[in-house]
């Protein structure tokens, strides 16, 4: 039986498998995967914002007549909560770098709670807006609001689930270095979710 070139290569590869030097990736796979995911997310939100800007530019009156005004002040407070949560994550990483695992876990938990408060307040705001008659189908204003802010809310929820899962690492892992590496992807996602919010808030609520 004649061996094909591929078979030769496979055998050669298997022979050298044990002698092969171990290669350490320049960036952890989880971090790289998260960066790629965030690139796609940036494009997703860019698409939504583009549609919003184009539709808005075509209408003479914004918000359209008969539609309620958005609660700017309470959402500003909500924005503050989200920004503080990002600082809590930053502080948690700082404590981890100094090997203060308990304090780091407290700040991580604080960030999760602040994110949860953000979601609850957003939900309360939505209930009020629905009571005022602003629904997904009431006007293009309502449709865009629920689409963009809802998409962000879903991302916050997803990131919160990941952050809560990440909290388990504080109990399971032994060294602060492994916790730092394991938590980094979800913290990057949290920074993204927090970082994009002021832009959405300015576009949808303020301008």
């Amino acid at each position: 039986m004649k061996w094909s070139l591929l078979q030769h290569l496979l055998v050669a590869g298997e022979v050298n498998l044990e002698n092969r030097p171990k290669r350490k990736p320049i960036v952890p796979s989880g971090v790289f995967g998260m960066v790629i995911f965030i690139i796609t997310e940036v494009m997703f939100f860019s698409g939504l914002v583009s549609a919003y800007l184009i539709i808005r530019a075509g209408l003479e009156e914004w918000p359209p007549w008969g539609q309620p005004r958005l609660p700017i002040e309470s959402t500003a407070f909500n924005t503050l909560l989200l920004i503080i949560s990002a600082f809590a994550v930053y502080q948690s990483r700082k404590f981890l770098k100094n090997n203060l695992i308990t304090k780091a876990s407290q700040f991580h938990l604080g960030a999760i709670l602040l994110g949860f408060c953000f979601l609850v307040l957003q939900g309360y705001e939505w209930v009020q807006l629905l009571q005022f008659g602003m629904t997904l189908s009431s006007s293009v204003y309502g449709a865009l609001f629920y689409l963009i802010i809802g998409a962000h809310g879903l991302h916050v929820f997803g990131a919160l689930v990941l952050m809560t899962y990440g909290f388990v690492h504080f109990k399971r892992e032994k060294t602060s270095e492994t916790i730092l590496t394991n938590l980094l992807p979800m913290q990057i996602l949290w920074y993204f979710v927090v970082g994009i919010w002021p832009l959405l808030y300015t576009l949808v609520y303020l301008i």
Partner: protein
């Protein structure tokens, strides 16, 4: 498959090519329209151009950024090992 089927397909392709060529050469302004360009105001056109530009530049900028970041990481890891 019968010969007629190919003939039909050819005819349909011909119609498609003819339509695209006619519209692109005869009515270029219609081709500017997109699903969300429901109004022909200057503001809408401006927003359309601006967002198109952003959507073109953004992915390229992000990919270049990631490649540069990886290159820097690689360089620094080489410096540490060497």
């Amino acid at each position: 498959m019968s010969k007629n089927w190919f003939g039909e397909l050819k005819n349909k392709t011909g119609i498609k090519v003819f339509t695209v060529l006619t519209f692109s050469t005869g009515f270029p302004s219609i081709l500017k329209a997109c699903a969300v360009c429901f109004s022909g105001t200057e503001e809408t056109l401006g927003a359309f151009y601006l967002t198109t530009l952003i959507l073109i530049i953004l992915p390229i900028a992000m990919i270049v950024g990631v490649v540069l970041w990886l290159y820097k990481k690689k360089l620094s890891s080489l410096n540490h090992s060497g």
